[in-house]
Symmetry: C2
Subunit: 317 residues, 2 copies
Amino acid sequence: MTHKMKLAVGIDIGGTNTVFGLVDEKGSCLAQNSIKTGDFPVVEDFVDKVQKGVNALISNFKDSEIIGMGIGAPNANFYTGTIEHAPNLKWKGIVPLVTLFEAYFDFPISLTNDANAAAMGERIYGAAQGVNDLVMVTLGTGLGSGFVVNGDLVYGHDGFAGELGHVIVEKNGRQCGCGNKGCLETYASATGIVKTAKEFLAKSKDSVLADLPEITSKAIADAALQGDKLALEIFDYTSDKLGFGLANMVAITSPKLIVLFGGLAQSGDLILKPTKKYMEQYLLKTFKDKIQIVPSQLNAADAAILGASSLAWQTLS
Amino acid sequence: MTHKMKLAVGIDIGGTNTVFGLVDEKGSCLAQNSIKTGDFPVVEDFVDKVQKGVNALISNFKDSEIIGMGIGAPNANFYTGTIEHAPNLKWKGIVPLVTLFEAYFDFPISLTNDANAAAMGERIYGAAQGVNDLVMVTLGTGLGSGFVVNGDLVYGHDGFAGELGHVIVEKNGRQCGCGNKGCLETYASATGIVKTAKEFLAKSKDSVLADLPEITSKAIADAALQGDKLALEIFDYTSDKLGFGLANMVAITSPKLIVLFGGLAQSGDLILKPTKKYMEQYLLKTFKDKIQIVPSQLNAADAAILGASSLAWQTLS
């Protein structure tokens, strides 16, 4: 008797690209494709294009069993299977995405936001395998986060839990796009660290950064790696804010593991070490020296598809 | 055919008293008793005394089925069934409380800290019935909290999650007993509000509080209820800190309901209304006007036993 190989479909919907693929139980992405999200202002056309793409991939794996589909998308509501008022997508209002896909597929379909999908991806395939309590922090343009508690994603009563980026770490601090001031993501994100660099450079030009036509988070990381003092101070300042936000979060959820993902997290020890140092400093004694901060172990190129597909495996368990 | 009445045993261990009782499914405490915790410096003697007391209560309900026992205690670890280094108890080190009780009883026994027990009590019998995502905040001498997410208590990886009282709301703020500065409980607790009153009275004597030999949180509440301006400002200040801490917590867990319990919560609208106002002000837009803050609906006299006993019902479900 032969066992059919089991595969999960993962779809990640971003403002620019939508990527989709087939993933096996070990987290190998065996086939994938992508389309431009913006080419489909009508969501029904988008769903039709994606389902054709997914079915084309599946047709090459006739001997496999598709166990389900997970979709990661901005402003996604797990409970209702809808995308709600996503500012970076062309579809306005409330879009019943799961219902639209269910017309084409027989297997179970789950939708959640991309940060939650990333957290579950890390738990199913990555740095947090077997860990029941973890937090995934994505340091990208903004700061996204996904929480796993008792082995399950934390959706909150409305499906929108996990907004660590909008925890206020400085009262009357930097203006955030959300309307509040001092949100963690105004400091700990690619945008935030560039803002910090500009503030620091206004006070001192003693840095290789002063000569650059444009400051990026990558340029700051490169300068810091070369030992540029101001760049190192910028990382220290950023890590202080992040460590403070993480310590306050730990007091509530006490995770075993904090996984950092995204551009800024690729700076490795530049951000990991000082963030850990500051977090320990602010932590309640009960939690000191217990909580690890580690970089993501998902292949960055496949991470979005892996995260989305992990929802399908999670639903099975 | 007759159905046996089902009862759960609840035991609440405090530094001064240990109370225990039998509770039915609707949350009525049908029988209870108490002993002085401090009379038993040897934990085995304590367990023997309590088991005799519990068995005496059970002997009056011979036609009932005891479904289990829940124990609430300070520094309790749900995972290991132990009390660990509790500063207010005479038993030092790590005490294997569940194992000690299991020698006397056949039914399942669960142990957790008192704040978690209170949260589950509110979910099983009180203000949060049927609510899967809630936070219980106990405003007593300190600030305790218990979190329910997806219908389950949040224990964290080590069993010690839920320390909302030690979220830092003011960097370099008031010295906390934990060693850190600016913890929420240094402001939002009976101790905290008295400290605020003393700070405010150092600046202005224009208050009925200025004439009191001793300031208590009850005296501040009484003065505020009489319209004393300074007392109202003290509540406003306290509520600002609490509302800020709650808003940051909501961004992470998005509860449907926040239940306030304890002495200060009995001040009712004095604390509920301004806390809600400030929380809304600091909340991310996604969560505005969605989250209720309500007072506990458990009878204060029975609340500790009810909370502990709810663990037994929770284990069943």
